[in-house]
Structures are given as structure tokens and as C-alpha cells.
Point group: C2
Chain length 95, copies 2
Amino acid sequence: MTGLSISERAEALATVPDWRLVDDRDAIERRFTFNDFDDAFAFMSSIAALAKEQDHHPEWFNCYNRVHIVLSTHDAGGLSTRDICLARSIDAIGQ
Amino acid sequence: MTGLSISERAEALATVPDWRLVDDRDAIERRFTFNDFDDAFAFMSSIAALAKEQDHHPEWFNCYNRVHIVLSTHDAGGLSTRDICLARSIDAIGQ
């Protein structure tokens, strides 16, 4: 597992425009807001299934109807294609 | 919904000895570590069901096999009996 080159990175990030780079580490993040806790946790359950499929896991925080997701790849020391893939899958169910 | 008096608070906190007071707010926290993400998320799913039953929700962070839970009651401006009840229920399934 290696990180992304500069050109791969720009190309990959362009495919997940709703995510932003985290300030103090090589990671991307996105915040979601739902109607209530049940909707937020249903979303998290769907992502947990994706994470299992992709063998790649989010770091995430939930408070009632809000879910904050951070993606980074420990083995790559930062962003990798696995993060971009998971972000795109999350976008597909979160929008 | 009101907070706990000093004596109620001491008595209540004594029933959840594995939780600690959060430094910078009126809340309690506990950290759990599991074998892997699947075990951690199964635990979170059980807590989500408890939260629904008790109509009281954790603030929580998960990274792979680690789950960090913070309990506080917004309506009470800090710790309430609802947090203690949820903490005890979480302890019952997390140990």
C-alpha cells in the first residue's frame, strides 16, 4: 500500500468534491447531518457494511443526528486510493 | 430534565466506576478496545438499540477497534440520571 502521487492525488480528489482535506494530517473529511439519531446510525450501519466489503475503515464521530467522517490509510501514511474508493461509496449512500 | 445534586451525583458516579469525568465539560467518558472493527461496530449497534429504548444518545468516536463514548445531557446542561442509566447499560454489554 503506497500513497498517491501528486497527479494521482489531484485526479482522485476531483472525484470526491464534497470532501475536504483535513488541516493537520493527510486525510479527507466530510460531515453529514440527518433528521435524527436513528437516521444517522442507519447511515453508519450502511458504511460499516461497505467498510467490511472494502476492508477499509472510517474514523468517525457521531453526536445525535450528526456524523463526521475522516478517511486516511495508516499503512500508506496518509491518503490512498482506498480512501477515495470508500469516500465515493459513502457519497453514493449519503446523498 | 435537571442535573444531579452533589450528593446524588456522588452516589450515581459510584455505580459507574469504569467511567471518568471529562476534563473540560460536565460529562463522563469511557474507552473500549475490541479485537477488530466488526466487534467494535457490533458493540456500537447494541448501544444504538439501547439509545433508542432510553431515548438518550451517546457522543462517540470509533477508529477501527476502538470506541470512545462520552455521555452528557444537553437538556440538563451536563450530567443527569439518564447518562448514568445509559452508562450502566453500556457496561452491561461491554464487559
